[in-house]
């Protein structure tokens, strides 16, 4: 059910002039966030559609590409991201329970997980570069010893998808840092945590996309 | 009116060159009529209401009508029926258009910036000219050497994009003798509008004779063969040969033995080696005032004899 009324009047959030109440503002903002998430899904989705079509046309080439990735790295990264999703959700949970210290802690851990994810990603990328596994025409077919001349396309998808995802992780980390800052400053309370809720949904989308990227890129070959 | 004197090759709908063209025109005539009638109903109704119910005083009483389900059903359902009918009619013709005949005369078509090349099974090659016998199924198997093009014969009402990396096909059975326009209908760069070809429909005997004559190219003198290759490869769409006018690339008229200014390099004397280099690796030396990367390489597309023939031909341009 709705908010616990005893704390509602403790800290009244000043909502924007064109809303009728803080609740009204919260629900509207949340709808805006969901609408934005749809655009994220469709943008990444375009890549997934391209991937599925070409995976169907060149299954062997994609298998060769998937084999040259290290699934253990992807696996660890999946666990890291799922854990960060949990801490993100808990951050909101603690704010709802009016425990800003614990919330700040959860958000900090989330940022840390994001950083770990990016470090592992960085190691993966540098390793690929070292092997000559570049996207498209820069893939050194002779050095790699590729069986398929257009293996560059697989790595085109690999770098596009993980790269765009990586940019979202970085963006998410910045947004969570902003939420963390505001949590510490004491902006949020059980009646007002819209920003964290929104950033949380964004962060879960990032996780969601990785959940699909991991088996598609690393495992299915 | 002006339209009458246009009534030769490309009048309001161009000459129907095939049976399918006639079928398309019948459907089009029906659509024109139906469209005209619906426009008369819509626009006529509009004009009539505007006049009949024009504002007379500032306090006109108007009727309060919110909707009429039966009327609204009618003007949704009737258009739907008409739309589906023309869809069905269209499907029927399209099916004929897209079903490739067996045992057709097959001609290969290559689109390239900015010319059409045709290759017959006997090995005869032509540029921007395709000759076919009348009353015979002809199938065009088409691909592109660079970007998208579209092979369009208005008189036959057929069109098909030419896609690099795969083959697309068209077929027709011309029942009128004569010459017909072929256009490129998919935007392909600078000379897109100059990428025209001629389709010649001739009697079977004439076609056989033409094919025979074309196969004799190997016995011609070198410069004549060069001229032939020059036309097949459609070099003329970028290089003028009769005067010094500039098309896309430099004119080749009086070019041999002249001095050429090169972008960022010393001048060169146009000799056989320079011509050879310019044909095989066109971007090695760029004439001053022309952009880089426009001319495609002909490496691997011409053998030594053909190359010599071309150079001999260019020598004769005076």
């Amino acid at each position: 059910m709705s908010t616990d009324s005893h704390s509602a009047h403790g800290h009244e959030h000043h909502y924007a002039h064109h809303f009728r109440s803080a609740e009204h503002e919260y629900l509207t903002s949340k709808e805006g966030i969901w609408l934005f998430m749809v655009t994220e899904i469709l943008m990444f989705g375009g890549l997934f559609v391209g991937y599925s079509i070409f995976h169907n046309i060149y299954p062997e080439m994609f298998a060769e590409g998937a084999k040259s990735l290290d699934w253990k790295m992807g696996f660890i990264n999946t666990l890291v991201l799922i854990f960060s999703s949990l801490t993100m959700a808990l951050g909101i949970f603690f704010l709802q329970k009016n425990q800003p210290k614990k919330a700040a802690m959860s958000l900090a851990i989330t940022i840390l997980c994001g950083a770990i994810f990016m470090v592992i990603k960085y190691l993966e990328y540098t390793h690929k570069f070292h092997l000559g596994l570049f996207p498209g025409r820069y893939l050194d077919v002779a050095k790699v010893g590729a069986e398929h001349a257009n293996l560059g396309m697989y790595f085109g998808f690999y770098y596009c998808m993980t790269g765009l995802h990586g940019i979202h992780v970085l963006l998410g980390m910045c947004l969570i840092s902003w939420c963390l800052f505001r949590t510490i400053r004491g902006d949020f309370n059980p009646n007002y945590y819209t920003a964290v809720e929104g950033v949380g949904i964004f962060w879960h989308i990032v996780d969601l996309i990785w959940i699909f990227l991991f088996p598609l890129l690393y495992l299915v070959g | 009116m002006m339209w009458f004197n246009l009534a030769q090759a490309q009048s309001f709908m161009p000459t129907e060159g095939t049976k399918i063209a006639t079928q398309v025109d019948n459907l089009y005539a029906f659509l024109l009529l139906a469209s005209f009638v619906s426009c008369v109903i819509l626009i006529g109704g509009m004009v009539y209401f505007v006049w009949k119910y024009r504002r007379k005083t500032d306090h006109d009483k108007t009727a309060y009508i919110t909707h009429n389900t039966f009327l609204e059903f009618l003007w949704s359902f009737i258009p739907l029926v008409i739309f589906l009918a023309v869809f069905g009619w269209g499907w029927y013709i399209y099916h004929d258009m897209r079903t490739m005949p067996k045992d057709a005369l097959e001609v290969h078509v290559f689109g390239k910036q900015w010319a059409w090349e045709f290759e017959y099974k006997s090995g005869v090659k032509t540029g921007n000219l395709v000759v076919v016998p009348v009353n015979k199924d002809v199938k065009l198997i088409m691909t592109s050497k660079d970007v998208l093009h579209s092979f369009y014969i208005p008189s036959f009402r057929i069109k098909q994009d030419v896609v690099p990396g795969r083959y697309t096909a068209l077929w027709f059975n011309a029942d009128k003798l004569g010459e017909f326009h072929v256009f490129c209908a998919e935007y392909c760069g600078t000379q897109h509008s100059g990428m025209l070809a001629t389709l010649k429909v001739v009697p079977q005997a004439e076609y056989d004779a033409w094919l025979e004559e074309e196969s004799q190219v190997g016995t011609l003198p070198l410069a004549k063969r060069g001229e032939k290759i020059f036309s097949v490869k459609a070099c003329a769409s970028c290089h003028s040969v009769a005067d010094a006018s500039t098309k896309v690339g430099p004119s080749l008229w009086k070019k041999f033995a002249a001095t050429e200014h090169i972008e960022g390099e010393p001048d060169v004397n146009v000799d056989e080696n320079y011509l050879r280099e310019s044909i095989l690796t066109p971007n090695a030396k760029i004439t001053k005032g022309f952009p880089k990367g426009v001319m495609p390489t002909f490496q691997g597309q011409l053998n030594e004899t053909e190359l010599n023939a071309l150079i001999e031909y260019i020598k004769t341009l005076k």
Binding site: T3, Y26, L27, E31, M37, S85, V220 | H108, E119, I141
Partner: protein, 108 residues
């Protein structure tokens, strides 16, 4: 002040242990994906659908509990669902073209 009915679905608090359970399930399913991957040979053509199925289940868990869509308004559920629907549409119709093309061969 004005508090209509639509406002009542605002702040749902999911119990702590539910979050832990969902996260546990997600970890388990991740392990399951990897285990399935090791039996790729035996699974054959099913390998890809199995991996995709597991990913979908994980995605649904994240959407419903972590993103709170289970307790959110119908509008927001429809909005988010629409994204996936139109994505499927893009795949289906592009695929319809690509997999029904008649291949022409050169006869030269």
């Amino acid at each position: 002040m004005v508090h209509s009915h639509e406002d009542s679905q605002g702040h749902h608090i999911t119990p702590f242990v539910v979050y832990l359970k969902v996260a546990g399930a997600l970890f388990l399913l991740t392990f399951l994906t990897v285990i399935a991957h090791h039996f790729n040979q035996q699974l054959g053509v099913l390998a890809a659908p199995v991996a995709f199925m597991i990913a979908t289940i994980k995605a649904i868990l994240v959407i419903l509990w972590f993103m709170h869509l289970k307790y959110d308004s119908v509008t927001n559920r429809v909005i988010f669902g629409a994204g996936f629907f139109f994505l499927a549409l893009l795949l289906a119709f592009s695929g319809l073209d690509i997999w029904t093309r008649v291949v022409e061969y050169s006869t030269l």
